[in-house]
Amino acid sequence: MEQLPPAAFLILFALASGEKHGYAIMQEARKLSDNTLQIGPATLYTTIQRLLDSDRIHEVPGPKDGDSRRRYYRLTNAGKGALHAELARMEALVKKSKGLRLRPVESSS
């Protein structure tokens, strides 16, 4: 399976905890990356468009009392599969790095 671009991975990761609208996805993705990946509206919706086209996410109805202008998105089975595959790939890399005794650089703070 092809490697996911960072923004696509974080959007799928953000949706793993349940359906969300665009801005909530953007906030969650920033939080997950510790603000290292600065996702703005254009990056967000370009990536959402690609994920919809590849059937990794789909649109679902929002709450009845919610803002009707906001669309909600949910992971599909293909999206869950892509997310798990990416996490497995990362885990394998971490295992290999441990085998080589490589360690992340500790933050000075």
Partner: protein
């Protein structure tokens, strides 16, 4: 909502014209909503510094998302480049002036950022007019030949 936020949202709505038509048609309204939410959050957290940061993201996305999607259209490319070069060079001057040289009251900083946006927009408009003029000239030359 402060006037600066309302103006920012109106400018962002206009900047959406630089994005590919399909993205604008399918997600334009949601992009503006997300930008407005982000702006309000940033204003609450850090006032003008927060707003400047959201604009920095938005301008960066014009290069990374809008321009690659519109690279075949000189009517979009040349105004966008004019806007970005002016915005970035003037932003650097304002930032250095307000952070390194003198302490400037918040209201004046806001006015400076608005003037940066106005100058950048004006340059983009001039670039658009010039592009239209020269495109028509070259069409006429072709016709004469």
């Amino acid at each position: 909502m402060r006037e600066v936020l309302a103006r920012s949202i109106r400018i962002y709505e206009q900047l959406l014209l630089l994005y590919p038509e399909e993205l604008r048609r399918d997600f334009g309204e949601e992009m503006v909503l997300a930008f407005a939410d982000d702006l309000q959050q940033a204003w609450g957290d850090a006032r003008m510094a927060g707003v400047a940061q959201i604009w920095w993201y938005a301008l960066r996305e014009l290069i990374t998302v809008a321009l690659p999607g519109q690279r075949s259209s000189p009517y979009v490319l040349s105004p966008a480049l004019a806007f970005l070069t002016t915005a970035m060079s003037e932003s650097a001057i304002v930032w250095i002036g307000t952070h390194q040289i003198a302490h400037v009251p918040e209201a004046q900083v806001a006015a400076m950022w608005i003037s940066v946006l106005l100058a950048s927009s004006m340059n983009a408009f001039v670039a658009f007019v010039v592009t239209c003029f020269y495109s028509r000239s070259s069409i006429n030359v072709l016709r004469l030949e």
